[in-house]
Every structure is written in structure tokens, then in C-alpha cells.
Amino acid sequence: MREPTFLVLAALAGGKKHGYGLIADAKQLSDGRVVLGVGTLYAVLDRLGEQGLVASAGEEIVDGRHRRYYELTDTGLTALEAQIERLESNATKARKNLAARVSTQPAGGLA
């Protein structure tokens, strides 16, 4: 799963959101590292919709602007949980390797 896809699913885990809400949440979740373009966002939503991971959750007009809300489906929730587990497992193993490396380094480091 690519990072924009993961961030969109993660943003929707907090409840239904519209386009701009998703962009703002993805930016916050990634500490400002990932700023989704609008074209990218809707491409991701299209794909997630076709895969049944995300569904449309109604539309409204606010200040003359159309907003469509999106929400996670049950399948989307399962996919997100699986991805989080994968990432956590990878991170745990990586941290363990790093700790092992640090503990085997001679004191004082390289000359």
C-alpha cells in the first residue's frame, strides 16, 4: 500500500470526511511531509472505491461549494488494520536490529 493510500484510509478512520478534510488530515498525520494534490486525492479515492475500501457518505453544498463525504467500509477498516500491523511489525524488527547494532559497536566508535 502506497503512502497516500495509507494516509487517506488513516484519515477516514477518524470518521467521514470531505476532500479538503482528507488533504488536511493527511498532512497532519504525516507531520506535514505529505501534501496530497487534489488530482492525486481523487485518483486514490476512485481506486479505493473500486476496491470497496471506501464509500461515498453523502453530499452537501457549503457556501456554494459542493462537498462529497467519504467513509471507510468494513473491508477498508480491515485493510487499514492489516497495514498498520505490517508497519508496526516492520518497525519493531528494524528497531531490534538497530539496538543490536548499537550494542555491538565498540565504545568510542571508529578512530
Binding site: E3, G19, I23, A24, Y42, D46, G49, S56, R67, R68
Partner: protein, 321 residues
């Protein structure tokens, strides 16, 4: 927020298919205006417009091609695109193992590794960089480098038409340029796979193309030449492509749409190269090939239309939710 900004965004959405715009344009414009307002902008960013153009074209393609097929086509094109210039470099330009080095001249000895005299070096470098970027986690920069490779192919094709501008020029031929440009375009239509599988694909493609390249020199006992490569393999390649077309037709009939699309479209660079080759040397074969290509395009369009109908139904189901 100005009405002008909304008008500019709506104009930018013309890159998207009409069917898609009818369902999503209002919502997307609303989001674009929200983002512009948050940034205190009254004009679209150039990068934003470029992103909309890329996404729009991608959505258009997506209506006729399965995503898995697009990614497979992109992977095959990248692997082949890396393999050909590297095979050209290793077997023709460098030719360290040339069996004819004592009896004849070698490119490397004649012109050195000179990117001006022979731009083969430039293409080997560009496509190798593209492969390296495709292996990174986010593949950032892959599309830009591929676009540069396409533009370079187009530029050198133009130079090839004006012999007086290139005294002492050793390549590449227009056939190869068209071949590489078409491969570049196919790379852009999807996302290549990453990791070992991509390296394996590129390795297999290199072994096949380099082997075929070297074979022409061994069989004819002469220095390997790009022209000789296309001349020697035009006939057999046309036969192979014909056979593969039959396989694609059978797969299409049995509704294995993704594989049929992958095979059909992945043949495009080879067909394009043969077309250039035949039209310049054997016009009748060229015309016959145009007929075959026409039939292929018709077949591809029929598969695409079938996929479009089924995907439209899926999209409608999604937006109704």
C-alpha cells in the same frame, strides 16, 4: 474567492473524461477552491494544473485499461527500455568481447565514448537512472526522467533527418529512437513494480536483447551494428508479433482482458520500430503491417470498450453508495 479561479479550475478539468466530470467535477472544484482559499491564493499553481492534467489523462486511460494491466505494461516497458540502450552500449559501443576486434574497427576505438558523436551513452544513462528511481520506495522523479528520455528520442529523431547537421554521426537510428520513445510513453501510463522483480525483468530483457544483438555479429561474423540488428530481426520479429497477437486475441475472447490488454499494448514499441523499418526499406511490407496494426487497434478498442462498459457499471455502483 473569484469566479475566475473557479473557471480556471473547471477548464483544467477538461483533461478528465466527460463521464467522470459529470459525476465529480463540482465536488473536485469545491475541493480545489477550499485548498486555494487555505493557501490565500487567487490563481492556480502551475504544479496543481500539471497534476490535474496528469491525473486527468491517467483517468482517461483507466477507463479503458485495467489498473493491473497499466502497471504490467509500465513494468515491461521500463525493463525493455533499460535493456535496449544497455545492450547497445555493451555489445555495440563498448564491445569488449568482440570476436572481430582484430579484423575490423570497434565503435569505442573509432569514436571513443563520446555522447555527442553517439548519443547511445545518454540513453543508457537516462534509462538506468529511470530504473534506479523506479526501485526507490516512492519512485519520485521517475516520470520526469522518462519524459526527458522521450523528448531526447524525439530530438535525436529530428537530427537524423538532417544528415548535414551531423558529420561523423554514428547513431542512434530513427527506428531505435521511435522504439525508445514508445517505450517511454508506455512507462508513463502506469506504476512499475518495485524491488527484485523489476530488476529480474530488466535482467531478462537485457539478456534476450543483448543475446540477439551479439547473435547478429556472430552469425554474420562482422562488427555488431544497430542497423544490422533491426534488419536481421525484422522478419522473425514480425512473425513473433503475429503469433503473440493471436494469443492476445484468444485471451481477449476468453475474457482475460487484463492479460490481453497487457500483451497487445506491450507490442506497440516493437510494432512502431518495424513500421519505421519497413516503410523506409520495404513499403509493401510496411503497408501490410499498417493493416495488421489497424486490426490490432480495432481489437484493442473492442477490448477497451468491453472493459469500459464493465468499469462504468462498477463506478456507478460506487457513486450510488
Amino acid at each position: 474567492m473569484s469566479v475566475d479561479l473557479e473557471r480556471l479550475y473547471r477548464r483544467a478539468l477538461a483533461w478528465y473524461p466527460k463521464v467522470w466530470r459529470e459525476k465529480n467535477a463540482d465536488v473536485m472544484v469545491g475541493t480545489l477552491l477550499d485548498v486555494a482559499e487555505a493557501d490565500h491564493r487567487t490563481h492556480p499553481r502551475a504544479s496543481e494544473l500539471a497534476g490535474l492534467a496528469a491525473s486527468g489523462l491517467s483517468t482517461r486511460l483507466g477507463m479503458f485499461l485495467e489498473p493491473s494491466a497499466r502497471n504490467a505494461i509500465s513494468t515491461i516497458a521500463l525493463a525493455t527500455g533499460v535493456a535496449y540502450p544497455l545492450a547497445y552500449f555493451a555489445i555495440q559501443l563498448w564491445s569488449p568481447w568482440s570476436i572481430t576486434r582484430d579484423s575490423n574497427w570497434r565503435y569505442a576505438e573509432a569514436v571513443g565514448f563520446n555522447a555527442i558523436v553517439n548519443p547511445g551513452l545518454i540513453f543508457a544513462a537516462l534509462w538506468t537512472v529511470a530504473l534506479a528511481l523506479a526501485l526507490t520506495p516512492r519512485q519520485r522523479g521517475l516520470q520526469s526522467v522518462t519524459a526527458v528520455a522521450i523528448l531526447a528520442s524525439a530530438a535525436f529523431s529530428v537530427v537524423n533527418y538532417f544528415p548535414e547537421t551531423r558529420p561523423g554521426w554514428y547513431g542512434l537510428k530513427t527506428t531505435t529512437m521511435v522504439f525508445l520513445a514508445t517505450l517511454g510513453l508506455l512507462v508513463l501510463i502506469g506504476t512499475p513494480i518495485r524491488g527484485r522483480r523489476l530488476v529480474l525483468c530488466a535482467g531478462v530483457a537485457f539478456v534476450v536483447i543483448a543475446g540477439a544483438y551479439a547473435f547478429t555479429g556472430i552469425a554474420l561474423h562482422s562488427p555488431v551494428d544497430e542497423r544490422m540488428f533491426w534488419n536481421s530481426f525484422s522478419g522473425p520479429l514480425a512473425l513473433v508479433l503475429g503469433g503473440v497477437t493471436l494469443v492476445a486475441v484468444m485471451l481477449g475472447i476468453t475474457r482475460r482482458t487484463g492479460i490481453a490488454q497487457t500483451i497487445t499494448i506491450s507490442m506497440a514499441p516493437w510494432v512502431a520500430a518495424l513500421l519505421i523499418r519497413f516503410l523506409s526499406h520495404d513499403p509493401w511490407s510496411g503497408l501490410a503491417l499498417i493493416g495488421i496494426v489497424g486490426a490490432l487497434v480495432g481489437f484493442g478498442a473492442a477490448i477497451g470498450a468491453a472493459f469500459h462498459r464493465s468499469s462504468t457499471v462498477r463506478r456507478e455502483d460506487f457513486t450510488r453508495l
